[in-house]
């Protein structure tokens, strides 16, 4: 790891001032992604601005019945927060499906959103990668692409966003509160992460001189009919090949509203609201779930090693909707998928 200047800003305004003043600076929160990338020489910041002591650690109820989560709340604390467990269990569950106890203790809420969308080659500085070195080419398209994307890909990049937490935040339609030199703004979760297009070097719509201050959850938590399923090469401590967050509102056996987000399949947590809408008013049966899954994966395209993900995702969607409808969410300790 290269050496760098280290500073600890006194408040948010100071943090924004420091990052705006130094284009070679980066924030560090939990450090679990930025330091990992620095060890591989993928990131080479000249200056790390340590925001981990800023007072952004609250988890509070909002006036509109939702919750506001400070950007520095550790993933583990958020997952075990009694109000999150009770009202947004899909979020608690998705967080617990990710990484390890140690990493969840270190990782911050804001940092989890901003961990890089990536693939094996992004880490290997000896190989071409449009995300790491724009214009150099993509090694994954014709390379080892088992972990890579099947939806929303471009000729430039087929990487996946690896977060579990973000898949649940997509379903919950969270809002991202940010601050920058021009003041504060709020970004809808679906507008936060980007598809690769021609500019895979940009993962999100956050400006380089902005800081995430909080994540806001709307009042609806879908605590009754939800699940988070994560399918990976081993039961624990591996990134998702495919994951699904499913949330339903039922009226008897009829679906009033359905929300679905997929992880491990695209450059961002993947939602398709048109497909979700086709479930509204339908009976909560396997047939309905299967036709939604087919529609969701209709445009999916594999690149060789990851072709299996298309069928895997289809089945995982059906399984997730079934679990959600039955009110039997996936356990993240007993990994058996039932």
């Amino acid at each position: 790891m290269i050496n760098f200047q280290y500073s600890r800003p006194g408040d948010i305004a100071d943090a924004v001032r420091q990052i705006a003043a130094d284009p070679r600076a980066k924030f560090i929160a939990g450090g679990t992604n930025i330091l990992d990338l620095m060890k591989y020489d993928v990131e080479r910041p000249a200056h790390l601005i340590d925001i981990s002591r800023l007072p952004l650690t609250g988890v509070e109820e909002t006036a509109s019945g939702g919750m506001r989560i400070g950007a520095l709340v550790p993933n583990s604390d958020l997952s075990y927060h009694p109000l999150i467990e009770a009202r947004y269990p899909i979020l608690a569950s998705a967080i617990r499906a990710g990484a390890s106890q140690q990493l969840r203790n270190m990782a911050s809420t804001g940092g989890n959103l901003l961990q890089r969308t990536r693939c094996l080659y992004f880490y290997d500085v000896a190989t071409p990668c449009n995300k790491r070195a724009p214009g150099s080419g993509c090694s994954a398209i014709d390379g080892i692409n088992r972990q890579n994307a099947i939806l929303g890909t471009s000729d430039a990049c087929i990487a996946t966003h690896p977060s579990d937490m973000c898949v649940a935040l997509a379903v919950l339609e969270a809002k991202v509160h940010v601050a920058g030199p021009a003041g504060e703004r709020v970004i809808a979760f679906e507008d936060f992460h980007r598809l690769p297009g021609k500019t895979p070097e940009r993962d999100t719509n956050l400006a380089p001189n902005e800081i995430i201050t909080a994540i806001e959850l709307p009042a609806r938590g879908f605590a009754k009919n939800y699940t988070y399923i994560k399918i990976r090469d081993r039961h624990s401590y591996a990134f998702a090949l495919v994951s699904v967050a499913a949330a339903l509102e039922l009226e008897g056996k009829t679906i009033k509203e359905a929300r679905l987000a997929l992880g491990g399949v695209a450059h961002k947590p993947w939602r398709n609201k048109e497909v979700e809408a086709t479930l509204n008013g339908q009976p909560a049966t396997r047939e309905s779930f299967r036709s939604a899954a087919d529609a969701l994966l209709r445009d999916a395209k594999g690149f060789g090693h990851n072709d299996f993900k298309v069928e895997l995702a289809r089945r995982a969607v059906v399984r997730a909707l079934t679990q959600a409808a039955q009110g039997t969410p996936q356990s993240q300790s007993n990994k058996k998928i039932v």
Partner: protein, 162 residues
Amino acid sequence: MTFRNALTLNINGSEHEVFIEPHWTLLDVLRREIGLTGTKENCIEAECGVCTVLLDGKAVCSCILLAMQAAGRSITTIEGLGTPDALDPLQVAFLKHGAVQCGYCIPGMILTAKSFLAEHPGTPTRHEIREAISGTLCRCTGYQKIIDAIADAGAEGAQAAS
């Protein structure tokens, strides 16, 4: 020229003053500067857990934590857990169950379990224990005796608390 920063770390209840470069991890400083070699080094990329220490009581990987970030926090390494005459209940349980083979993963394993049991008092299921230690790899034991030991220590803790 490299510049160094003065840093005071609170480790196992005592203060240590060190002069470090900003890119040094807590693991580097514990082993090389302070000589606390109970904390092990292996993958240095948060994959294996042998470098686990407690930061304000919670298990973290010291290989991916800047030492500067630990300023003012309380750090516990395996050297700070129990004494030869009064072992920590987890250390007793690991001995009783024969949960140690080569021993390389054990400091990290015990601290991982310590953090987990502190946050989840009561009697965790084997599934929960498995998940809790999934970030701490052991290449010798096959884990079963480690899980027995943690379950036993958890049950004793729950009994002592009731």
